[in-house]
Amino acid sequence: MDRRKRFRRIGVFEVGNTLLMLAVCFITLYPMWFVFINSLNAPQQALLGTVNWFPKELSLASYSVVFNDKNMMNGFYVTTLRTVFGTAVHVLFTAIVAYGMSKTVLIGRKLYLKIALITMLFSGGLIPTFLLMTKLGLYDNFGVFIFPSMYTFFNMVIFMSFFRTIPDSLEESAKVDGASDYGVLFRIVLPNSMAVLATIALFSAVYHWNDYYQGVIYIRSQDLLPLQTILYKIIAENSMSFIQQQAMAQFGARLPGNSIKFASMMVATLPILVFYPFIQRYLVKGVMIGAIKG
């Protein structure tokens, strides 16, 4: 469209719309900023959460409580381990199945797709799944974070549609050179699918990092609790007992206050905030692939 016309029409609508968008940005960013500044407050200061822009009394005391808390740090470790392994297993497994499914020569391909589609519409749900996990010995076991989430039909379809866009000739030439099916997948197909790999890995990693619910349902032992489950207990159930002890040791009998909750929240979100700028450009691309093909 021509430029002159565009500039001529800067009017009430443009101004209003821009302000609206700025308001959206503000509403989105302010809560995070709020957590950040209150986590930096001295623990005695942040008992009440009033509107504010900067910490009243700058202090890293809350962070030192969080970083010195054995349970929190163990949760951090469990979550990291879970995110790394869970994501790697999910991406590899889903990709392998999707590669097989992308071949039209596969016998019974349509049947497999139907079987898989049914699982999307109808599932056993919470209780039967819980009982199954118990029978499989996954209750209170690290495996519960990995195995049930190693595959999703939706991601498989995204992979499958992507693989089908890779020219067959590329794979055939590799086969002529003596590569096996797995060889073709790992040496030819996957290196050509970086965008979709990154997207699926990202979704999977975010899921593993943010999930607290699996930990609530399946985990009993303290040292297997993921970070977000610990955070859930601190925030929703208000059970600050372990962190309270740390705080009491440091600040006398004083209530640990909100700043410690906020510092824990910051620590649990930091990896997302750090990686977000790098990965967000893949997001839209990935969602499009999913939206159009899926």
Partner: protein, 286 residues
């Protein structure tokens, strides 16, 4: 290469489906499943006469209705308004910022919500400063606010993310259409309505079908985070009821019976919504 996938699906999807059979039994975790006595529809009758069950139905439908009526159009409006922004850089920045909350865990988002709505929290301070209320309101423990809290937090968290799909659909519209409309003298609103909205209509229809078929579901992670003993009356959704009955009270068979009906109805709703949409607008999923 497909076999591991089939095996996985069999174990993690089909075995639980098979286990739905315990809805018709008095299942106990202590003995093998097939030795449990069949009790027919006993559990189904039991929950049909349970007040708490009907209350959870009401809560689920209430929260879903608010989300569907007041929530569904918001990402569409956001996408339309964002589309009108002319500076590409500003548009991208707004978009990037808008979907950030989607990636923040519910523990964090719920934590902020609980803090802001609590005693001495941001919302109370703000409303008092603006003269909208005189005393502090305990939003978190007063059940009557719960549905609205779930609606607002959900909208804040997911609007930007849900808008992506509409933004993608809008980006695919042929710019020639706008030029033609402009030559015909269509103003901004007319173009927005007749071209943009009409072009993304199939996308809207598909997402609406999915939204309707999901009305018996609730955002479990959200509700589980925000619920407490005081607001349970309005907070206990069907999912939460199944959880509380099954895993907290240990009534596995009873809970599974509820679950079973829920799944069947959800499936029915999906087909119904799909069928109506096909009849009314010609757009459908299958």
């Amino acid at each position: 290469m497909v076999i591991p996938g089939i095996v996985w699906m069999f174990i993690f999807c089909y075995i639980p489906m098979f286990w739905l059979i315990i809805a018709f039994m008095d299942y106990s975790i202590a003995r093998p499943m097939l030795e449990s006595p069949f009790v027919g529809l006993k559990h189904f009758q039991d929950f049909m006469t349970d007040d708490r069950f009907w209350r959870s139905i009401r809560n689920t439908l209430g929260m879903s209705a608010i989300k569907l009526i007041l929530g569904f159009p918001i990402p569409i409006l956001f996408a339309l308004m964002l589309n009108e922004i002319r500076s590409i850089r500003f548009k991208r920045s707004v978009q990037t910022v808008s979907y950030l909350p989607h990636f923040i865990a519910w523990t964090i988002f719920g934590g902020i919500t609980l803090n802001w709505l609590g005693e001495g929290g941001v919302i109370n301070q703000l409303m008092m400063a603006l003269g909208l209320q005189e005393r502090e309101i305990l939003f978190n423990s007063d059940p009557k606010y719960f549905w609205w809290i779930t609606y607002f937090t959900d909208t804040l968290k997911e609007t930007g993310w849900s808008a992506i799909i509409y933004i993608a659909a809008i980006a695919g519209i042929d710019p020639g259409l706008y030029e033609a409309a402009e030559l015909d003298g269509a103003n901004r609103w007319q173009r927005m309505w007749h071209i943009t909205v009409q072009s993304i209509r199939p996308t809207i229809a598909i997402l609406f079908i999915l939204a309707v078929s999901g009305i018996l579901g609730s955002n479990f992670e959200q509700i589980f985070m925000l619920k407490n003993n005081m607001n349970m009356k309005m907070a206990e959704s069907l999912d939460l009821y199944i959880y509380n009955m099954g895993l907290v009270s240990g009534r596995h068979s009873f809970s599974t019976a509820v679950l079973f009906v829920r799944s069947i109805v959800a499936l029915g709703l999906l087909f119904l919504a799909n069928y109506s949409s096909k009849k009314l607008t010609g757009d459908s999923i299958f």
